[in-house]
Each structure stands twice: as structure tokens, then as C-alpha cells.
């Protein structure tokens, strides 16, 4: 596999890099060298692993979804990241980065959040390590995700409403970057996905790779071989990157990324940066983005707040270009149907983001071969989404 690692400035081929204000260049260099030292340090690794095990609840099970498998006619395993502390894979990354921040002597954490999952995961580790924390969140998202906002407050984090632009995730990232550039000496920016300038896409991927590594071990033990398909949803792309990365070199394993099809690609209301976007530069990296004819960033739509983003991690852009990963879209409606299906058949409420991956398996079912083995990353649980689902079932409720 060519270019499995980026160059020293974070380029996978033409994607990635560091497109930031000069003021942040020094901080990114500092972060790179601190990270490279930390991962060579046995104590750091041990502390991290202990915390993932004792506090977050790793390893997570790889569960054979028997009734769902019967219904779809292919054997499907679910990687249960939904069982982690705070309810999603996000905590894998926040524990790692918060430990790194502490090691670097940073006094304060900041983060952006869309749906609030990364915000809650950051607020959680901030409480755990006794660090003050500010989370930027779009005003519209604050209205949509009241429960997560309240959780962050309970954990001692300040949630700062973002009133600029589209008042969603991309604007929250803008505001977090503005805070960071102003307080760069004392503050650690805990970015929540495999996006942003180098080294963030690498750091977040590495901390999330535990998902794919565990899966590999578990499926070998359970089935004596690797899966034929590995499926995960892609917003910014952290759960999928964490799942895919350890499989990239296993050429026989097909990697499937599922983006938000929203109301359909023709409607323009979707979050399909890889399937429908064009090359551009957003939030510090060259990647695929959704933009208009003048290069202004387009607004997005998905029923799953975590997929509602106009960019995507640069390593995904590279995997798409080299053809190593195939990307598809799933519409809101199909994701919702998959949500109901998994709830009824398996007693698991999947996050609406993860429901996109489930829906892909459901839609693709007729194409699988008889003995195909499929692993789906169930990146989070759906408790956070019950209000959205209720509105969907009964839209005239209000």
C-alpha cells in the first residue's frame, strides 16, 4: 500500500497538510513532537491502556447479530463501541489527547462539538483530570441536543454558544480555532475527528485505531479469519478511520465508508463530502469538501447530527482516491428504517450515525455472497437521538 503514512508535514499524496494561520504553526509543531515522544513512552501507553480498560470499558464486545443476520442473509458482527463510557467511540480519542495535554503542561482544554458526543467525551476527561474546559457548540445544535448540553454542564464544562455562520459544527470548529490562536500558549485544542491540520488527523486516527485492532483479534478468534467487509459511517471520519486503519494492509478485506445521503444527493441537502464533494481546503487540510461555485463552504444536512459536516478527514480523501476504500451514501429515511430494524431485532438502539452503516448492509444484502462475513462498527448508542426519532415518527407533535 502506497502512502499508508503521511509525510512529515501530514500529506497523504495531495491531501492533508497544515493550512493554518502562522500563529498556530508553532503550536502544531509542538504538538507533533510531544505526540511522537509520548507514544514512545511506555508509561504513557500503560496509563492510557489502563484508563481505556478501567474507566472507558475496553475492550468492547464483537457481537454476532444473529436475528439481523438471518434477516439480511449474511453474517453480521457488530463492534459494540456503543457500550463505552459516554456512549460512543469518542472517548477513545479524548482520553488519549487529554493525557497528552496534561503531559504537555497545558492548563486548559477547548473543544468543538456538533451533536455533543465529542463535547461530552471531552467534558468527561476534563473532569477526570481536573482541567478547566470550554466547549464550542453551534446555537442551532444547542437547541437540538439539549440533553448533551446539560450533561456537559453537569460535568463542569462551560458550553459556549456559536452564533456565527450556519451555527453548526463547522462554525464551532472556526470558533475553537479562533480561541486556540488567541490562547495558544496555555490551551490545548482537543479536536474530535480525523480532520484539521496535521498532526490531528494522525493523532485521532491512532487513538481510534484500538477499534480496528481489537476487531481483528476478536474476529480471528471467533471465525478463524478476517471479515470480507468492514463497514462504518463517515462524518469527519474518526470511527471509520479507527476501524479501517488496521485493515488497510489486509487487501482482501473490503472497506466500506457510508456518508450521509440526507434527503438525497440531488436535493443538495446531504453531508456526502466524499461522494459528492470536490477538492478544497477547509479547517487546515486539503480534502474533499462541499462548496459552491465560488469556493464558499456549503451547508449540509443529515438526520444524524454527527454526519452533518461539509468536510472529511484527509486520509479518507486519500483512501478514496487510491480506491482502497469504497464510499456510499445512505439517505435519512433508510438510516431511520435501520434504526428501527436493529432496535426490534437485536434490542440495540444504534446512534443515527451508526444506523447509516447498518442501513448500507441492509440495502446491499442481495449482493453479498453466501459465506460473506461483515463487521459493522456500531460507533455509538441511540439514546441521544430519541427526540429526533420521535419527531420523525410524529412530525406534527409540536
Amino acid at each position: 500500500m502506497k502512502n499508508i503514512s503521511p509525510d512529515t508535514q501530514g500529506h497523504w499524496g495531495k491531501f492533508g497538510g497544515k493550512f493554518v494561520s502562522e500563529t498556530l504553526m508553532c503550536a502544531l509543531e509542538e504538538l507533533s513532537s510531544a505526540y511522537n515522544e509520548a507514544i514512545k513512552d511506555k508509561n504513557f501507553k500503560q496509563d492510557l491502556n489502563n484508563c481505556l480498560k478501567q474507566y472507558a470499558g475496553r475492550p468492547t464486545p464483537l457481537y454476532y447479530a444473529e436475528r439481523f443476520s438471518k434477516k439480511t442473509g449474511v453474517r453480521v458482527y457488530l463492534k459494540r463501541e456503543d457500550l463505552l463510557h459516554t456512549g460512543a467511540h469518542k472517548i477513545n480519542n479524548t482520553i488519549g489527547q487529554a493525557f497528552l495535554a496534561k503531559r504537555m503542561g497545558k492548563k486548559r482544554l477547548i473543544a468543538e462539538t456538533g451533536a455533543g458526543q465529542h463535547g461530552v467525551a471531552t467534558a468527561t476527561v476534563a473532569a477526570l483530570l481536573g482541567m478547566p474546559c470550554d466547549v464550542y457548540m453551534g446555537e442551532d445544535d444547542i437547541k437540538r441536543q439539549k440533553l448533551n448540553v446539560f450533561k456537559m454542564k453537569l460535568l463542569g464544562t462551560k458550553v459556549i454558544p456559536v452564533k456565527t455562520g450556519s451555527k453548526t459544527l463547522k462554525d464551532a470548529i472556526n470558533e475553537a480555532l479562533r480561541d486556540w490562536v488567541t490562547n495558544v500558549k496555555t490551551t490545548y485544542y482537543l479536536l474530535g475527528s480525523v480532520v484539521g491540520p496535521h498532526p490531528y488527523p494522525v493523532i485521532v486516527r491512532d487513538f481510534q485505531s484500538v477499534i480496528g485492532e481489537e476487531t481483528k483479534r476478536q474476529i480471528r478468534k471467533l471465525e478463524g479469519r478476517l471479515p470480507d467487509y468492514v463497514v462504518a459511517c463517515v462524518g469527519g471520519g474518526s470511527n471509520s478511520m479507527g476501524m479501517f486503519y488496521p485493515f488497510i494492509k489486509e487487501r482482501k478485506v473490503k472497506l466500506i465508508g457510508v456518508e450521509a445521503g440526507g434527503l438525497g444527493l440531488a436535493s443538495g441537502k446531504h453531508g456526502a463530502s466524499l461522494c459528492k464533494g470536490t477538492e478544497g481546503v477547509l479547517h487546515g487540510a486539503r480534502t474533499y469538501i462541499l462548496q459552491d461555485k465560488d469556493g464558499q463552504i456549503a451547508s449540509t444536512h443529515s438526520v444524524a447530527p454527527g454526519l452533518d459536516y461539509s468536510g472529511v478527514g484527509p486520509e479518507h480523501a486519500h483512501l478514496k482516491q487510491t480506491g482502497r476504500t469504497s464510499y456510499y451514501t445512505v439517505k435519512d429515511k433508510d438510516a431511520m428504517d435501520a434504526f428501527f430494524m436493529l432496535s426490534h431485532l437485536e434490542g440495540i438502539l444504534p446512534a443515527l450515525e451508526s444506523s447509516h452503516a447498518i442501513a448500507w448492509v441492509k440495502n446491499f444484502a442481495i449482493n453479498f455472497k453466501k459465506n460473506d462475513l461483515v463487521v459493522v462498527n456500531l460507533s455509538g448508542r441511540g439514546d441521544k437521538d430519541v427526540d429526533i426519532v420521535e419527531d420523525y415518527i410524529n412530525p406534527v407533535r409540536n
Binding site: Q9, G17, K18, F19, V20, S21, E22, T23, L24, M25, C26, A27, T164, G165, K170, D171, N174, L177, R178, V181, T182, N183, V184, K185, T278, E279, G280, V281, L282, H283, G284, R286, I289, Q291, D294, G295, Q296, I297
Partner: protein, 266 residues
């Protein structure tokens, strides 16, 4: 010799410091931008920085963010701004520098952008989110066509980076006064003077200081040690406070006149 270079020569001869005035192109509309540029020149601005509006201006504070939004609401884009410069060139030879984020330029096409900018009469470009490491492509075309590329030097830039920045910059070097986003500050740290002196040791090119310079007093102080002073948010604020008013242009002119005389005399 291009317009930027001859402007610095002319100022040096007269023993004057440069006043570089920033506004966002298309705020409140391109017709007004045309008038404001000519008025700013009349009142003593030496170089004009035209902001290319962008949906996600991460290096800007609230005043320029709002200005960028107003321009985008009027559907301002690179094509229209290039036409505006073409029109301006029938009236004035004042150096014009674009200040943009990378994506609108990248999307337009780097080579085409450089070619069209030079053809329209643009003299230089500053890209807020493009450090020298990522600027190879734009540098190749710019040096071929004679478009100046101006890079920013930050308070956090260590010596090794300052070398890189000085080497990559043509036209002048943009020294950022504070760590943070654009916008007015009441005062600036005394250490700024030391930094400007340090940068000047690394290069023969002029060093202009921007970010946070909002009043006559600060402008005067900065002009006492820098080659040029860049004022943006304070001017844009006057535009914001006088939208829809008949005397918008003269209000901007008044501030520019006061700043110009303070900076020139320093």
C-alpha cells in the same frame, strides 16, 4: 519595478512610513468599494488591501467576519472583485493587495488566479491560512507572473520560521502584532518593537505591522519602528456603523485622513 516596490521607494525617499488600509471587497457593495478605495487614496492611504470574503474566516474577529458576511450576501465573488480592480486601474495606480483565505483561490484555480489577478492590476496577495510550507504552488506561478506573495510573521514564529517567511515573502512582510484574530485592541505589548527589529535584521524587505491597531496613538507608536502600519477592523467598523448612510464614504475618509497623517509623520 511593480507598484508595491515603487511605492516603498517613493515613501523612503520622502522619509515617510506606509499606511496600508484594509477593507472587504463588496462591503456594503462593490460600487461603494470602488468609491471607498479612491477616497482612501485621496486621504493618504499608500497601499490598499482588499479582503476576499469567505464563509469561514478563521483568522478574523467579529468585525471582519460580519463584513465578510455582508459582502457574501451581495454575492460578491472573485470574478466580480477582479473586474472591480480592472475598473479601479483606469483611475488609480495605488498598489492593491488581495487578502484571502486559500479555498476561494484554490477553487478558482491557482494558476488562473495568478494570471487573472495580474491582468486585472492586482499587485500582491496575502493568504491568511497559507504558511510558506504549503505555498509552493502559488509561489511558482506568482514569481513567473510578477505577483507579490506576502507572508505573515506571528508572535509565535521562532527564528527558523522567520527565516522561511522572510525568504518566501516579496513586496513586504506582514508582522502580526498579537496572537489572536483580527480586531481592535486597546494597546499592544511593548515586545512588538523588539520583534519588528529582529525581523528587520533578517531581511531587506519592508516590515508592516497589522492586527489590533485601532487608534491614532497606537498607529503612531507602531509607525515609529515599523516600515508600515496596517489598519483593517477600525476602518471596517466605520463602514459597519454607517451602512445605508449618505456620508459613509466621507466618514471612512475622515478616519483614513487622521490615521495617514499620524503614520506618515511618525
Amino acid at each position: 519595478m511593480n507598484r508595491i516596490e515603487s511605492k516603498w521607494k517613493e515613501l523612503k525617499k520622502k522619509g515617510l512610513k506606509a499606511f496600508i488600509a484594509f477593507i472587504t471587497a463588496g462591503d456594503p457593495c462593490l460600487e461603494d468599494t470602488y468609491k471607498i478605495v479612491l477616497e482612501m487614496e485621496r486621504q493618504g492611504a499608500d497601499i490598499i488591501e482588499l479582503g476576499i470574503p469567505f464563509s469561514d474566516p478563521i483568522a478574523d474577529g467579529p468585525v471582519i467576519q460580519a463584513s465578510s458576511n455582508r459582502a457574501l450576501e451581495k454575492r460578491t465573488n472573485l470574478n466580480k472583485i477582479l473586474l472591480l480592480v480592472k475598473d479601479l486601474r483606469k483611475k488609480t495606480d495605488i498598489p492593491i493587495v488581495f487578502l484571502s483565505y486559500y479555498n476561494p483561490i484554490f477553487h478558482y484555480g491557482i494558476e488562473k488566479f495568478v494570471e487573472d489577478a495580474v491582468k486585472s492590476g492586482v499587485d500582491g496577495v496575502i493568504v491568511a491560512d497559507l504558511p510558506p510550507e504549503e505555498a509552493k504552488e502559488i509561489k511558482i506561478f506568482s514569481s513567473k507572473k510578477g505577483l507579490d506573495t506576502i507572508f505573515l510573521a506571528a508572535p509565535t514564529s521562532l527564528k527558523e520560521r522567520l527565516h522561511k517567511i522572510a525568504e518566501a515573502s516579496t513586496g513586504f512582510i506582514y508582522c502580526v502584532s498579537v496572537a489572536g484574530v483580527t480586531g481592535a485592541r486597546n494597546s499592544l505589548a511593548q515586545s512588538l518593537k523588539r520583534r519588528v527589529v529582529d525581523i528587520k535584521k533578517l531581511t531587506d524587505r519592508p516590515v508592516a505591522v497589522g492586527f489590533g491597531i485601532s487608534n491614532i496613538q497606537t498607529a503612531k507608536w507602531v509607525a515609529s519602528f515599523a516600515d508600515g502600519v496596517i489598519v483593517g477592523s477600525a476602518i471596517v467598523k466605520v463602514i459597519q456603523d454607517n451602512l445605508e448612510k449618505k456620508d459613509l464614504i466621507s466618514k471612512v475618509g475622515k478616519l483614513v485622513k487622521d490615521l495617514a497623517s499620524a503614520i506618515h509623520k511618525a
